[in-house]
């Protein structure tokens, strides 16, 4: 029997977008030492050729995604590792995967009552933009940011 969880009610769901935005800002602030500019409108998806995904299972089922360009991913890896962006190489995929993992975990921990009832998968990173994602979700929240002049698009896609 599933107990009622207020975090999953309509009212609780109103907190998801601000919690997600705060989670992103905290992760980038602490791990990359930078502030992100929130974009009010979704940017063009052209050039967002790196997608990182972390699955959610349990009381909340779905996926958290982070999408960005390879240039942005290299710069993220550079900031995380204290190296130059052109030295990031394949570490950029790992970096974006870990950022997505931390954002998903941080988001989950901000939603009261969700922590123990929701598990995270290890991250998966897809490179290339020519794909379709069919996650069988029926609710989607998106937030877009600007990181060093490059767009970063965050998604929370949820099964009800």
């Amino acid at each position: 029997m599933n107990a009622f969880n207020p975090a999953l009610s309509d009212r609780g769901r109103e907190c998801w977008l601000p919690a997600l935005q705060l989670s992103v800002q905290e992760v980038f602030g602490l791990m990359l030492g930078c502030e992100l500019e929130v974009l009010k409108e979704s940017p063009s998806e052209e050039g967002l050729e790196i997608t990182s995904m972390v699955g959610l299972a349990g009381q909340l089922c779905g996926i958290v995604t982070v999408r960005c360009s390879a240039k942005a991913a290299s710069r993220m890896a550079a900031r995380m590792l204290g190296i130059e962006a052109d030295q990031a190489g394949s570490q950029k995929w790992d970096a974006v995967g870990e950022l997505c993992n931390m954002i998903a975990g941080n988001f989950k921990n901000k939603i009261t009552g969700l922590g123990d009832g929701c598990m995270l998968s290890v991250p998966t990173v897809i490179t290339g933009g020519d794909y379709n994602l069919h996650a069988m979700v029926n609710e989607e929240i998106r937030a877009a940011f600007l990181f060093e002049e490059e767009p970063v698009v965050l998604g929370l896609e949820v099964h009800n």
Binding site: L30, L81, M102, G105
Partner: protein
Amino acid sequence: MDDIRTLIVDDSAVMRKIVERSLRQAGLGIAQVLEASNGAEALAAVQQHRVDLILCDINMPVMDGLEFVKQLAGMENAKGVPVVMITTEGSEGHVVQALSAGARGYLRKPFTSDQVKEHVLPVLAKKP
């Protein structure tokens, strides 16, 4: 202690490097760092090398961090070696599970170097 051998267990190589850099920035006397990408590799590393401190993720393929800590508790040459979990799994249930399994500390990702120091220093001070 000024020659601490540390084992960092995380499936992300980037995160292992970040944890190592945070430890060194914290000035904790880290002499040598060993790395493992999952719990099974970490158990093998502990069997082969002297280790004074272990920093370990929870969500990993092959063997997760909680299972690693449980199995580590049964290893004779790992007695008294402190384990600090560093993970995105920050719920109360996970903290209780980790501490019950034998972990001495628990740090949530994302973290700062200062937070690494705050969590690691006390467990090193208590090391027999």
